[in-house]
Structures are given as C-alpha cells and as structure tokens.
Amino acid sequence: MSATVDLLTTVPPAFVVIAVALVIPFVSDRVGHTIGFVASLGVVPWALALRSSPGDYIQTAFMGFDVVLLNIDAFSVVMAVIFGGFGAVAVAYSYYVDASRIQTAFAVSYVGTSVGAVLVGDWLTLVFFWELMAVTSTLLVWYYGGKAVRAGYRYALLHGAGGSLLMSAVVLNYVQRGAEGFVFTGEGMASGLPAVLAALGIGVNVGFIGLHAWIPDTYPRPGIGASVFLCAFTTKAGVYGLYRAFPDGNVALAYMGAGMTVYGVVYALLQTDMRRLLAYHIQAQVGYMVGGIGMTSALATAGGFAHVFNHILYKGLLFMTAGVLIYRTGENSLKKLGGGLWRRTPVTAGAFAVAALSISGFPGFNGFVSKGMITAAAGKTQRYVVGGQDILWWLMMLGAVGTFMSFVKFGYYAFVKGSYEGKVRDGNIGQKLTVSALAVACFVLGVAPGLLFGILPLSDEWTAHPFTTGHLLEGFTLAALGIAGFYVARGAISRIGVARDVDSVYNPGVFYGTRAVARFTTMAYTAVDSGAVRLAGFCTRAVNQPAETARRLLPEGARETYDERVAKKPGETGTRAGIGETVLMLSLVLAVVMYLFL
C-alpha cells in the first residue's frame, strides 16, 4: 500500500499531463489525441488511489519559500477526478470534431495546469498554476484566429488583472500570517484586505456579477472542441480556489452566488447564439456553487463540490451537443438553425435532453441531486432571511425556473419547432460515443447519487436525501413553472433579443480610459523628454570623457593642480589611487571602524 503511495507521490500528476502536452505537437493527430486522452484519464485512478492517504506530499522550497506540490485531501481529489476524467472525454471529442493536434496540445496543457492548480498545497504554486491556466487557455482561444483573437486578448487582460489581485491577496496574507508561510492551513485568507482582494481576484474566474462578461464574450468564439475545454476548467478551479480562501463561508459570497444564478439566467434567456446562451448558464450554475461555498454548512459546501462535478458533466455535454449541431449545420444561432432537428439527429437530441434535464434539476438527473443539496442547505439553515422569507432560497428557485425556461427554449427552437431545410446528419460515431458516455454519466449519477457521495468532501458531517417526496415535488413544480413560463413569455423573449451586458460599458470605458492615459503620458513624456535629453547628453559626455567632465566641474583655481596631477598619475582622471594613498585610505577605514565599534 505505502509502496503504491510512494510511487504515486514521486511526481505531481499535473507534470505528467503537461509533459504529454509538450509531446503532442510532434506526433500524428491520432497518436497525439490518444496520448492526451490516456494522460488525462490517468489522473482519475491516480487521484482516487491516493484519496485514502491524505496529506502533503512533495514538499520542497521554491526561491526560499516552502511549497507543497502535491496536496491530497477530499477537496483536491474530487476536483482532480472530474478534471482528469472530463479532460479525457473532451480530448476524444476534439479528435472527432477534427481539432488539430496543436489545438489539442494547448487544450491538454490547459487540463494539466488546471489539475496542477487543484492539487497543490500552498498559495504560491496555486497562483503559479492559476496564471498558467490563464496563459494556456488564452493560447487555446487565440489558436482559432479571427474574432477569437480580440476576445482572447480581453480574456487575457482580465485574467491577468484577476491573477494579480489574487497574488497581492496571497502576499498580504503571507505578511499577516508570517511564520505559516504560503502553505494552506485550513484557515483561508486573513480577513480584511487580503480576503477582499482574494474574493475579487477569484471573482474574475468564477464570474461574479460585473466581472463575468468575459465568459459569454470568450466561450462562443473559438473552435467547438476548444469551447468544450473552456467551459469546464477555469470557472470550476475558481470555485475550488474560493473554497480554499473561504473554507468557513462568507455571507456576502452566498448572496453573490444567489444573485449570479438569477442574473446569468435572465441574460441566457435573451441569447440566440447557442454557445453564448450556454456561457451565461455557466455563470448561473457557478452561482449555485459560489452560494454553496458561501453558506456556512457542511451540506452546502459538499453540495457546491457535487455541483462542480455534475456541472462539468452536463455543461460539457451541452457544449458538445451544440458543437455537433454547429459541426453539421455550420450555424451558431438558434434562429438560423431552422429547427426540427430531432428526427435527423436523434442521438444528439437525446443527449441534449438528458443534459438539459440535468442542468434544470429535473428529478432523476444529476443536477437535481447537487442543486438540491445547495437549495436544501439554503432553506434549512434559516440564516439568510430577509423580511421573513428565505431570500437565498427564493433567488435560487427563481434561477432554477429560469433555467428550465431557457432550456425549453433551446430545445424547442433547435429540435422541435419548424423544419430544417436541406440535409443534416447526426454526429459521427465518435461524437455519438462521447456524448452518449456523458449522458449516461449524468443519468446514472442522477438515479444513484451514492456513487458521487462516496468521494465528496466532509462526508461524515452531512446527509442528503434527494428522493424525498417534498424534494421531488419541488423538482416537478419547477419544471412545470419553467414550461409554463416559456409558453407565456416566449413572444417577449424573442422580441427583446440580445441584451446589452456590462461589457458594453466597460469595453469602451477601458478603451477611452487607456487612450486618456496614453495622451496624458505622452504630454508628460514630452515635458520630461527635453530635460532627460539634456541630462542624457551630459551623462554621455561624462561617461565618454570622464576626465574632461571632471575638470570642467572643478572650480577655476583647482584646474591647474588637477592638470598637473593628471600629467603625473596613471589613469585618465588622475583619481586613481597610488599605493601610499591606498594605505592611507586603509588606515582611515580602520579608524572609522574602530570609532564605530568601540
């Protein structure tokens, strides 16, 4: 047993995945995708095998600070399992939507850095992998070219800013905590400024309202294979980071999470671009997870992690089915898709139905279980009450109804209403296999949630009973309200069309802001420049002709003495000390030292 543990903890799994990613560009597409698949999948048994022996492994020093390159606990394991497992499915899917090996190499390195981020045991390496995730995912977006480049640039800027905020939080936390260094202590960020900075920095990754615009901006733009990767890792690593920073929860976080569920859903309802719609749902669903982390309850925290796990499965599946439709029709917009596709693409339609029911939290599918854990905690704790009502619970319910409406809309326009002109085939065999695998997983975890409960954290501090009558009733009611809501509001939804989001304010804001800064800088520069040129001119002369410059700086009377000295002495300035002067200097130094010390 311990020999196995020793073997598995010789090197962090992330290093292996990243090493494989570096090899992928140099082999064929088929071999590249195969080794990427195997490496990513390998993380699953690797992490599971270590789950029973938690602790800090591979402790070393980086630039004089103690760091832990492999930290095994229930939280890191559940993240590594879903990241590795989903990464493998996404690599397989990429192969069947004709992704090039270069793109997949970026994607696998993104998987590797994400696995790295959730498996380290200290803030310093966490930030290191955090930034690497931003870099690799940006490259993944950029690789597609075209409009993705500018979106990728905005993405990179925002994540750079977020990473810096997190870095400053980590440094301040280090300053406050001192002796503990950077290693996780289970206490989270020190309260005050470090906590606020950490929340904002991580808030970029999880898509806090106001910091979220990059999600719908970026995720629809690159290749369909790339979107599948993007939807899974960055935001969920953010949820994980949030837990590390706030292990005991935080009321403001709980409300932010609940707010995100409603905000994301409202915007999602108004979208027509399939992947943009799905991207807003990421914000909404991550809202549940943020709420789970924010609430101070073991059930909520476990629910948050369960939702991370389930969400990656069904959201990945949604992006994959949307990807198949785009792959076959070339259309991104629901309006142009034509509809009525369920007859022609039955497997895709079926998989979509499973995923939609999962995300909406319909009983029998995995989202029902994990979302239920979070909403039950919100209702049970009775701590988030405003005006006699469980405000958190109500917001989350509102978000859930909206989710139903939104996916009824998606399904209705894509697969039911109207009929598509021309020929459309269902996904190819590989696409069918990968989407089916995820669909089966969503369904199995929906009917047998015990499978997931087994690897969730804090498992001895909570119990969940997903299939109570009340809870089931809640699920069916939400579904009914969702369908009814869509029926009533569909006219209004299609009339309002694409809404303006916060980025329509801050994109121009940043643009004009930077232009103003540039103007100001230019003017200031011009003013400083002439002075600097004069100074530089002087320095250049001084450096090129030190002797002459020194001579000119001397008072009139001393120049003659100086000239004599230069003539007599070696060296160009006549300042080079001879032997006697050096010994004199030595005596002076000794005298000064003696005077100081005694």
Partner: protein, 488 residues
C-alpha cells in the same frame, strides 16, 4: 578516512609546485603538464571529500594527530564545500585555457600551483592563524602571477597589490592576536565559545573584529580598499586575470564570512547591532560605488574589476545580515560570481587575442565576428546582471530575501538598484559588441596570440553552466545545512 584527504588536497599542489622549478634544469615548458596532472588529481580528491560531506555531514581532521585546540584543525562544511568545488573546477578550467594562451614558463606554473594550494588551504582550515598563513600563501602566489605579465604596468600592479595586501594581512594578524590575547586559543570552534565567555561587548573582542574586517576588507577589495584590484586585473595576462578574479577575492570573502559566522557567530552580530549594520552598509556602499565606478570605465578589464567590487559588496552584506537565506545567497553568489567573472575575463582574452582590442569603444561589432565567444560573453554578462534563471539571479535573490526577512528593506532596495546599474554597464558593452560598426582597421590576429577552439568551447561551457546551475541552485540549500554552520 576521507577527512585525512583534507590535508592531502593542500599538500598535493604545494609539493607539485616545486616540480616545475626543479624540472627547469633540464626541460623548458614542462610546467603545464605537471600542473594538469596535479590539479586534475586534486579535483578528483576534492570531489571525493565533498561527496563524503554530502553523504555524511561536516568533516573534520586534526593535522598530525595533535588534538585541537592545540593542533591545527581542517574542516569542511556547508559554507566551505561550494567554495572548494569552485576552486577545483576553475583551477582546471583556467589551466586548460593557458595551454595556448600562456604564459608557459615553468615558474608561472609553480606560482599557479602555489596559489591553488593557498586557496584550498584558506577554504578548509579551521584555525585562524593557519588561515593567516594560507592568506599569505595565496597572496604570494597571486603577486607572482600578476607580475608574470612582464611589463612595467604588471610590475607596478603586483607591487601595489603586494604592499597593500601585506598591510591588510597584517591588520588581520593584529586582529587575531587581540583575540588570542583575550582567549588564549586560535582554533575557530574553540575561539567562538571562549569569545562568548569573554563577552561580546568587551573592548578587546570588538577591537579584534575591527582589525579583521579592515584587513580582510583589503583582500576582498571592498570599496574604498579596492584600489589594487583594477590595476591587478587589467595589467596581468588574461589567463591570470581570469583565475585571480574568479578565486582570490572569493576565498578572501569566504574567509571573512567564515570569521564572521563561525568565529564571532551571528550571536555576536545580534549583540552588537552597530557591527552588524556596519558590515551591511559597508557592503551596500561597495555595491553602489563599485557599480558607479564600473559605469565610468572605458577599459573592459577595469570595468569587470569594478563590477567585482560591487558583487563582493553584495556577498559581504549577505554575511553581515547573517540569517540562513542571506548566507545561502552569499554562498551561491560566491560560486556563481567565480564562474561568471572568471569566464568573462577569459572571453575578453579571446577577443583581445583575436583583435588586439581592450577598450570599450574598440569592442564595436566584435560579437558578430566571434559569434560563439560573443554569445557566451552576452550570457555571462546578463547572468551577472541577475536575469533569471541564471545563477547570478539566485544569489542576489536569496540575499535580498534574507535582507527583507531581517527587516533590512533598504539593502533589498540597494540590491535592486545595483541590478539596474549593472544592467547599465552591461547593456553599454553588449550594445557596442553587437550593434556597433566594426572599423575596417581591426583585423583578425591583431592580438598576436592564437585562439583555439578549446578556449572558445571553455567559455561557452561556462555560459551554459551559469544558466543551467541557476534552477538547481535552490535544491542544494538543504544539502549545505547552513543552519548548522550558523549554530542553529
């Protein structure tokens, strides 16, 4: 068993240094071969003692079986092991360079071997008087080598170094005499215990420390006691400049660190804040003054020499701060600086031998004509600036880290500022080398000495090493166990 080798690694070059002189009676130019055999063998022996330190911890040997504190003790610990390794490596490397570049006389190699023996002796001795003896042996070897340039300038430089260096060594001797009067012992470990008994605030203890600092300050070439160094480096043959610049000040700085940390101990520094800040600001002054003077130079060798003044200021500041991080930084920088500075001089030699140029303005465009040596020069110089991940960065980083941990933020700022100053003179040099217009007049072979592929390969190897050693440097921190040296 291996601890007895500590004596052998000193004795071997001493004995070998006699051979070329005796051999002169029947054969010229045999010295190089003797030196190669002796120093390669010595490097192997050094390798084996260092290995036994790595596996078994601190080594100690009583010379001739006379028990300490009366006998002389030789020792090897985390502070001395890296210095010993760099002596072994640089002595063989520079020797390879002098194969063609010369000087080739037998007496030169006698001096070279004697100098090496002195360097090794300073590094492994655990006795303060014995340390003085080896410092003098090092000095004698160095005076002889510097004078081997054979013209008036080198004679003057050697004489200057001889006089100033001897005065410095004498001050050191006075310092240990005071310590001896106070305690009655010369063994380092014994001395440190008894100095504590006498009391760190005692006048005689403080006076002895003041003499030692001033005396060794000359040997390290700290500002303003550095004046012998630019002359010595610029007047001697390039092979000598490479060897001397790499190791002589290095072991002097090591000796200073040894005396501060092992004999007087960090406890002494804590008890006398003025001493500790005195050391730190002495170092900081050297950092700034050395860099500024380097910027003002027009001769490449003098520029490199002043840069050493600055780098040794950093090392002394690290010893003065006296915590594990800063001392580790100083040790890394001792090692790194030796390789970088030695190789920079050897590369400057290659350029001088090819084109006969020594001044900054004459360097215009040379990098394009000697691409490999030019690239090596650039890499070494940038490592000197402290560009990560090269080893020059690691040393500076740890000293700065130690300074911050000790609350000496001002020193960290000085280190950062000196990086900019270093960049200034390095950038000027590289700009000239790569983008300057090469004048027609400078033709190949202007220096009159052949440049072999081996010489170029040597400096390229050194430049690869400074980059490759950087990332692995932090890994040896635990092996060195500097906490033990500092008495933790």
């Amino acid at each position: 068993m291996t601890d007895a080798l500590l004596g052998v690694v000193i004795a071997l070059p001493v004995i070998a240094s006699v051979v070329p002189l005796v051999a002169s009676f029947w054969r010229e130019e045999i010295g190089w071969y003797v030196a190669v055999v002796a120093l390669v063998l010595n490097a192997v022996l050094i390798g084996s003692v260092v290995r036994s330190f790595v596996s078994g911890g601190i080594l100690s040997h009583e010379v001739g079986g006379v028990a300490v504190p009366y006998g002389i003790e030789l020792a090897l610990d985390g502070l001395s092991a890296p210095v010993l390794v760099v002596i072994a490596v640089v002595s063989v490397g520079t020797l390879a360079y002098t194969r063609t570049a010369g000087p080739r006389s037998n007496s030169f190699y006698s001096g070279y071997l004697l100098l090496t023996a002195g360097l090794v002796g300073v590094t492994v001795t655990a006795d303060v008087f014995n340390l003085y003896v080896f410092i003098e042996i090092t000095g004698l070897g160095a005076y002889a080598l510097i004078a081997s340039g054979g013209d008036g300038r080198s004679a003057y430089a050697a004489l200057k170094y001889l006089l100033v260096g001897t005065v410095g060594a004498s001050l050191y001797l006075i310092g240990i005499a005071y310590a001896f009067v106070a305690t009655g012992t010369l063994n380092m470990a014994d001395l440190s215990a008894r100095l504590a008994d006498v009391g760190y605030g005692d006048t005689i203890v403080l006076a002895s420390f003041a003499f030692i600092i001033a005396g060794l300050g000359v040997k390290v070439a700290l500002f303003p006691l550095h004046t012998w160094q630019p002359d010595a480096y610029s007047a001697s043959p390039y092979g000598v400049a490479g060897y001397v610049s790499a190791l002589v000040s290095t072991v002097a700085a090591y000796a200073l660190g040894r005396v501060i940390l092992t004999v007087y101990t960090p406890g002494f520094l804590t008890a006398n804040p003025v001493v500790s800040s005195g050391l730190i600001y002495f170092g900081a002054l050297s950092i700034v003054a050395g860099s500024v003077l380097a910027v003002l130079q027009t001769d490449v060798r003098r520029l490199l020499a002043y840069s050493s003044v600055s780098q040794f200021g950093l090392i002394v500041a690290g010893f003065g701060i006296g915590n594990t991080a800063s001392v580790f930084g100083s040790v890394v920088h001792l090692f790194g600086h030796a390789v970088m500075k030695g190789a920079l001089f050897l590369t400057a030699g290659i350029i001088a031998y090819r084109f006969g140029v020594t001044r900054l303005d004459e360097y215009a465009g040379v990098a394009r004509r000697v691409p490999y040596a030019g690239a090596a020069f650039a890499v070494l110089a940038l490592s000197l600036v402290g560009v990560p991940p090269a080893i020059g960065f690691v040393g500076k980083w740890y000293v700065a880290l130690g300074a911050v941990r000790a609350g000496e933020t001002a020193v960290a700022v000085v280190i950062f500022a000196s990086t900019l100053l270093t960049l200034m003179y390095v950038a000027r040099l590289l700009d000239r080398m790569y983008y300057g217009e090469a004048p027609e007049a400078v033709a190949d072979g202007g220096g009159g000495t052949r440049v072999t592929r081996g010489m170029v390969a040597l400096v390229v190897l050194a430049s690869v090493a400074v980059v490759a050693l950087g990332p692995s440097a932090s890994a040896v921190q635990e092996t060195l166990a500097l906490g033990e040296v500092l008495g933790g």
